[in-house]
């Protein structure tokens, strides 16, 4: 079934582009340690807010040369009272491919030193400039993307089992159990989700490791979304629970749990697939919003949301537009997920014309 969906997705022009874009993003994130010229924790305090490095392939004599770059020097302009960055043209720094740079552990396991591209020891290559701490924005985009682009999926894997089981039990057992369970779900849905999200995030204790925090944020994101999902599952279970094959299962003495998990819930598969692809983007957006406010992923860890935190200052968005790049990446990946989700819905549910 998955293979069929994929084949049909590939046929659709928009979906194919979206798949390719997401493919490139995820491969880049997987290889982040190798592609990024610097490690996650690298910072050069003398190079705060440096604009993107300029790359040259034609040297000062007008001849073709190996690609090289110049370092920036920070200068204070006394007349205008502003800090300026000037290219230090005295020394060329050639860009080296597949050469040794800062040591890292590939995927946290294999110690390696090679990077896709680096420059010499005292040269600096910042493709997208640096942030307030002199950290390379390009490298942090890759490391931050790992968090931003996986958190949604992880939340879904927590949320969907809960929602399926809750909706399944509520719909199949019915009666008073059903009405109590549904009132509870409705109550959760009655709290504006973002309000609940920030409150849950704010009561997290502060002394946690970054992994613990990450896991708890996944759980919080999952807690927000399950109720609406459970309601739809309940509706679907209600519509099939009186069919003959369920009666057959009951008469051979199958337990309630077995009927729910083996006979009723599989009926919701296509809805689940569609709902999953369409809700990944909303979790990406929620995480970035949370981190943007400083309640999600914390420094020094990067996520696209907390990198955008710097865009809260006017001076940054006016004079340092490279700090806005995470926003564009969020936009592109959410758009791609939406396009794929829409196309999958068309494939699995040809009657529905929401697009």
């Amino acid at each position: 079934m998955i293979k069929d969906i994929f084949k049909q997705l590939w046929k659709d022009k928009f979906a194919r582009i979206a798949l390719l874009v997401l493919g490139v993003i995820y491969i880049a994130l997987f290889l982040a340690d190798f592609i990024a010229p610097y490690t996650k924790d690298f910072s050069d305090r003398t190079m705060a807010y440096v604009p993107p490095s300029k790359l040259f392939t034609i040297d000062e004599n007008g001849k073709l040369s190996k690609p090289y770059t110049y370092n920036y020097v920070r200068e204070f302009d006394k007349n205008n009272l502003e800090i300026k960055y000037r290219l230090d043209r005295s020394k060329k720094h050639y860009i080296k491919f597949f050469s040794k740079g800062q040591p890292y552990k590939f995927l946290g396991l294999i110690p390696m030193k090679r990077h896709l591209f680096t420059t010499d020891r005292d040269g600096r290559i910042f493709l997208l400039g640096t942030d307030i701490n002199g950290r390379d924005v390009f490298s942090r985009l890759l490391f931050g993307g790992r968090i931003s682009m996986t958190i949604g999926f992880l939340a879904l894997f927590v949320l969907f089992p809960i929602g399926l089981l809750f909706g399944g039990i509520s719909g199949y057992i019915g009666g008073r159990v059903d009405s109590i369970m549904m009132r509870f779900a409705e109550a959760i849905m009655s709290i504006p989700s973002f309000y609940l999200l920030i409150i849950l995030a704010s009561i997290l204790p502060s002394g946690m490791t970054s992994t613990q925090r990450f896991m708890l944020i996944v759980i919080i994101l999952a807690l927000i979304g399950w109720a609406g999902f459970a309601r739809v599952v309940r509706g679907m279970v209600l519509s099939v629970k009186n069919q003959e094959y369920i009666q057959a299962a009951q008469s051979i003495g199958a337990s309630k749990m077995r009927i729910i998990t083996k006979h009723l819930l599989p009926q919701t598969t296509s809805f689940v697939i569609v709902a999953m692809t369409l809700s990944v983007p909303s979790y990406i957006l929620s995480e970035s919003g949370l981190s943007f406010l400083g309640l999600g992923i914390q420094q020094p860890d990067a996520s696209w949301g907390n990198m955008l935190k710097e865009a809260q200052e006017f001076t940054n968005i006016l004079y340092r537009p490279w700090l806005l790049t995470p926003g564009f990446l969020i936009f592109v990946s959410v758009l791609a997920f939406n396009l794929i989700g829409d196309t999958i819905r068309d494939i699995l549910d040809p009657k529905s014309k929401v697009r």
Partner: protein, 323 residues
């Protein structure tokens, strides 16, 4: 009469819902390790008597169940306690809630005004370039993170100077005449409204398009066409009425989404609304304020759904028959 009975029943149904919401939010906040009076105690301008009064009011020395009872009782009486700066919470909410309601109701009005016609156009011109373009545009609108879009628009406002950068009123607001005040507020609302409008338009347009396509497929529309009615009558008289009904249910959901989306937008634009209030309260761990604004958010949402339901009963007679 039947109608009023149904509406009354529907209002009664919201009471248990509110009780569960209050229980959930109360226990979430009690989970927090923060001392609810810590901020108050640290503030030198607040007398120990006030702190003691709060402790008594919240019943902090008693078991959690009694604490909840005390809190719920004073909530019903309208006594919401004081904020960490010593202001009355109810006063603060009174200032902020109308602003959020103003913002969201303008956005809902505009999205309906634009989204419904666009949905109809897309459905009527199904699978033509117009439909495709609208789909692409709404996809883009759905994908922009609200806070990022708000930041970009703020940048635009700073660069061009065409729009005020944040807030709801100008510094000289109190000196303005009534008309001037109106224009001033409208001027400040343009950008926040635009952000929320762009984001919520997509969902509405798509839903309208889908409903319309479903209805256009139905037998009675085919019959109306077969009868030789002009296309405009078929669409605007027969199809539209039935396609709009499910949208009214959506109104409640739209309101919920807007309240959430508004929080970030209000934050970026420094707009004095409920969303920013709760955010600031959360960041300062001002428990009374968080509790009260969470409850008010839920109350607004439940009321929104209630209004949508009642509207639906009025417009769709089938529901009355069913109940």
């Amino acid at each position: 009469m039947e109608l009023f009975k149904y509406i009354f029943k529907r209002i009664i149904q919201t009471i248990p819902l509110l009780i569960i919401v209050s229980l959930i939010s109360f226990f979430i906040i009690r989970l927090s390790p923060v001392d609810p009076l810590a901020e108050l105690k640290l503030n030198p301008s607040i007398s120990p008597e006030t702190v003691e009064k709060e402790r008594q009011r919240l019943g902090l020395d008693k078991p959690v169940i009694i604490q909840y009872g005390k809190w719920a009782f004073s909530f019903i009486k309208g006594d919401l306690g004081v904020t960490s700066t010593g202001e009355k919470v109810s006063q603060k909410l009174k200032e902020r809630i109308p602003n959020t309601l103003l913002l969201t109701s303008i956005v809902i009005f505009l999205t309906w005004l634009v989204g419904v016609p666009l949905g109809i156009i897309a459905a009527v011109k199904w699978k033509t370039p117009i439909d495709r373009i609208l789909t692409v545009l709404t996809s883009i609108g759905m994908a922009i993170p609200s806070f990022f879009f708000a930041v970009l628009l703020l940048l635009f406002a700073v660069k061009t100077g065409w729009f005020p950068i944040g807030g709801l009123t100008s510094p000289n607001f109190s000196d303005l005449s009534f008309g001037g005040k109106f224009i001033d507020i409208a001027y400040h609302l343009v950008l926040p409204v635009f952000v929320l409008f762009t984001i919520s338009l997509a969902g509405l347009q798509r839903q309208m398009r889908a409903n319309m396509l479903d209805v256009l497929d139905s037998d009675y529309v085919k019959f109306a066409r077969a009868k030789g009615l002009p296309e405009s009558v078929v669409i605007y008289k027969h199809a539209l009425r039935n396609a709009v009904n499910p949208m009214i249910t959506l109104l409640g959901f739209e309101f919920a989404g807007l309240l959430s989306g508004a929080a970030l937008t209000e934050y970026v634009f420094q707009y004095p609304g409920l969303g920013r209030l709760i955010l600031e309260a959360v960041l300062k761990s001002d428990i009374n304020l968080v509790m009260a604004s969470l409850m008010m958010g839920a109350v607004m949402l439940i009321l929104g759904n209630l209004i949508a339901d009642i509207l639906l009963i009025i417009t769709d007679p089938r529901i009355r028959v069913k109940s």
